[in-house]
Subunit: 525 residues, 2 copies
């Protein structure tokens, strides 16, 4: 299957207009340039893709209510049809092992199917009906019927580190499409060929289902201008993003400064503090050190849920002695691209040169994009004083902070600010409560005696958290609740039945659960 | 009952520190200065109020799950205890008729009780549980339990035009307190005494229930600096606002520019287009003209849902002839304050001087803060070309736009942009569909053959809409769903039962509805 290097716009593979350069990707394991060259989208492709998306959006109004379920299921099938071509391209582009990518593909497929089920179930519409009381005094009560509708075209910026689960047709795309929003995916320049293959599956699904082709577009490029054009385009109504704090905040600022601001749902990674209390240390120091090292190194340390900050209470010598060899014995990690490796190496160099920081293992760069793991420790006061230690090191590294007491550890947590996760390991004699209270306001998910990597895709998942983990702690980007980001509510007052969407009509044609006068029911009403 | 003119901070009535001036309010009907003078909050009172709110917030963690229901019910009772003192002060401060204020007080009380019921019901927690599967392959599935928790202190900027329903303890305050968020209410300078009385009821309720006194604070003032301090304070986690687009956008911009951005839920009024199709015109022109005039004049035209833009298709001469006398015969309206009246008069003068605009009635200012109604008409092309016509005239005025055809009316609607409401009056032969499609993406509530003023407080209400009606079309500020603005989700992974909030514990002590493995139930699990 040969790649075109082009954008997918309105169902056609389109090259950039004249004057805009292209870019090539290098295999991070070898540094070799991979073919083909990819187009860099300038203003014209962005405009064309948004126009196609808006046109598709207006066409979907009259489709049967569950059209997006069919689309999501078809995309899942077409992705599986790509077989090893997809897996091989992805492993070459990202240096992620084939086994890991095979598992991640399964997760991507499950996400698509999960959102299809959610669409069929219909509860995400939150259809709510209050029937009229024409004789109420002093004024009659009108008939009011409200439900969630799609916002409109959504720009999706996928992540480098999960080319499938958070890629061109990952969770953001799946949840936006499920809600009925056309998606303009920006292919991540770390895996442009993978993005094109995924887009080709989406196109095949659109053709098979006969749905409007503008429902999914792919724009390739690595320029800041492309991101800005997408976020600032008047036809774009929301943004999904997974990546760095710097890039996420930049998109957020642009979106907030628009004449008509739009929401940016940016998941920007975090420090993910992991607390090991003295009792846990005494009871299972060796096991924790081993499992924690595995969590730090998972995916080469390139997980947004990587436990990057380990907090201990009192003497941590034995623990460090147990943890160090696990990280030291790890072979070098090939990172997703050279720029990530260089940024990571820069952060490691900064930490190494920070006053008060003890370097337990200094990882060294090697090859084109590889680096070996690092481990640091410092006092709580050093962590609080040195702002650079409060920034994420995206890669195989962790920082251990020894705290003098409960109050000091709580100050450290306050300093960390918002994180996706916080973990507490306690022994039989430890009091978790003071830290639990702190974490409840600072993180999206609290892990007990475990590790934050491994994000279960299920109804109760919260993959989000207070800023700077995300732009706002009120949503999750994983699990069915992620659809809530891409809807807006519309109410119909005293509408004749035939003008209502099927979900709100008296006879409830799609047979979904609705709340009628406060009672959840599938009955007519 | 004598008023102090002070701020309410941590349960005490506190004057501003030295050097910050005070302000007086004038009775808009007479222009007379009303006593007392009110303090203008500088930096110190804001800091003190936020500190008290944060302290109260941390104290609430260990309260029984439904503490806020008791508080809301106690506030409602204490407000009723104020009796005529409250109604009389409000009517003097706002010039709103006693009957209207009595009705609005009822609505405020009902809102408080509605949110108390919601808290008792517990469904707003959206408690979601996925139980563990320890034997799942290839990896065990963890136990995950998620629920909504309060964000933290919320700054509430009430509206001038609804001193009760959207005032210091109006819907924003009630929904934030219901969620468990401490509230810092900025008293609107149009009714500072009313705000103080309402705050005194909140304080009495806090004292009676024994809840932390920092849960409700009142800051008086009219300076831009006070608003900025509240929105920029690091301890404030969200903002509720009802008022003008200019003020709302200013708060939104400040909140987005913070080191840690916070959401601003600003309801900023709108044009509320109302369409009268030719069949409706033929069948009931006289009735529509009469009812529409009443809707335009409700509350002196100072409703955020006032139908300010009337769209007709083809010849509208008869309709204008019918509408004009209803508005012309109305006595002058006393507006909420002189500044609103002057701004309104300025907008009327702008419209009157705009090329292409026909002045049907030119309202004249009178008295201290009064003005008589105005009516204008123009062609669709004039409306599209003249940006000033697309701005709300907050007061007793409407603009009628005659459109040449369906396409032109749709262009006008696009030009209007986001509104809280859109209304369509159709006769038996009219085709509503093209306008309905348009309104579904542009407004929060679509009214059929009716008028948008009168916002029912019920589960299916949507009082919100795309920008610039609000900062984002995904929430409502009226009805139980308004609580969703003030929560964030937290998930607990593999938590021992005793560390879970009661709502997530296996035995379900508060007996709320939860979603367990995808099934809604009150059973343990």
């Amino acid at each position: 299957m040969s790649l075109s290097g082009r954008h997918l716009i309105g169902g056609a593979w389109v090259a950039s207009g004249g004057g805009v350069g292209g870019f090539s990707h290098r295999n991070p394991a070898t540094g070799e340039v991979m073919s083909p060259e990819f187009c860099e989208a300038g203003a014209d492709p962005v405009d064309a893709a948004v126009v196609a998306a808006l046109s598709a959006f207006s066409e979907t109004r009259d489709l049967e209510p569950r059209w997006s379920a069919k689309l999501l299921e078809a995309i899942a099938a077409k992705i599986l049809d790509l077989g090893d071509v997809l897996l091989n391209r992805a492993t070459q582009e990202t240096a992620l092992p084939l086994a890991r990518l095979t598992g991640e593909r399964g997760r991507m497929i499950n996400q698509l199917k999960m959102f299809a089920s959610l669409v069929r179930d219909g509860s995400w519409r939150n259809a709510t009906i209050d029937t009229a009381e024409p004789n109420r005094q002093p004024l009659p009560k009108p008939d009011l019927r409200r439900m969630n509708r799609p916002r409109g075209p959504v720009a999706v910026f996928g992540a480098s580190n999960f080319p499938f689960a958070f890629g061109a047709v990952g969770g953001d795309t799946a949840s936006a499409l499920a809600a009925g929003c056309p998606v303009l995916a920006k292919g991540h320049p770390s895996h442009p060929g993978t993005s094109e293959l995924l887009a080709s599956a989406a196109l095949a699904a659109l053709l098979e289902t006969g749905l409007p082709r503008g429902l999914f577009g792919l724009l390739q490029g690595r320029s800041h201008e492309l991101s800005a054009r997408l976020v600032q385009h008047p036809g774009v109504t929301a943004v999904g993003f997974t990546g760095s704090k710097k890039a996420g905040r930049s998109l957020f600022d642009m979106a907030a400064a628009r004449a008509r601001p739009i929401p940016v749902f940016a998941e920007m990674g975090s420090l993910n503090p992991l607390i090991v209390l003295p009792g846990a240390m005494r009871e299972r120091c060796g096991q924790i050190a081993k499992d924690l090292a595995a969590s730090i190194l998972l995916g080469g340390g390139q997980f947004c849920t990587k436990p990057g900050l380990i907090l201990t209470l009192g003497e941590s010598g034995d623990f460090l002695a147990a943890l160090t060899p696990h990280l030291k014995s790890s072979p070098p990690v090939t990172m997703l691209n050279q720029s990530l490796r260089d940024n990571f190496a820069g952060r490691i160099a900064e930490w190494s040169g920070t006053s008060g920081v003890t370097v337990l293992i200094r990882g060294e760069p090697s090859g084109y994009a590889s680096v070996s793991p690092s481990l640091f420790c410092a006092s709580a006061s050093t962590f609080i004083e040195q702002a650079v230690l409060q920034e994420e090191a995206f890669g195989p590294a962790a920082l251990v902070i020894d705290c003098d007491g409960v109050a000091e550890m709580r100050r450290v947590l306050q300093c960390v600010g918002g994180s996706l996760t916080g973990s507490i390991h306690a022994g039989t004699t430890d009091d978790r409560l003071p830290f639990l209270c702190e974490l409840e306001t600072l993180v999206g998910r609290i892990v007990f005696d475990g590790y934050p990597t491994g994000v279960e895709v299920c109804g109760a998942m919260m993959h989000g958290g207070p800023y700077p983990a995300t732009t706002d702690g009120s949503w999750t980007s994983v699990g069915p609740a992620a659809i809530g980001r891409f809807v807006q509510m519309v109410a119909y007052q005293n509408a004749p039945d035939q003008f209502l969407p099927p979900e709100l009509q008296k006879s409830n044609p799609p047979a979904i659960v609705r709340t009628i006068n406060g009672r959840r029911t599938t009955e007519p009403g």
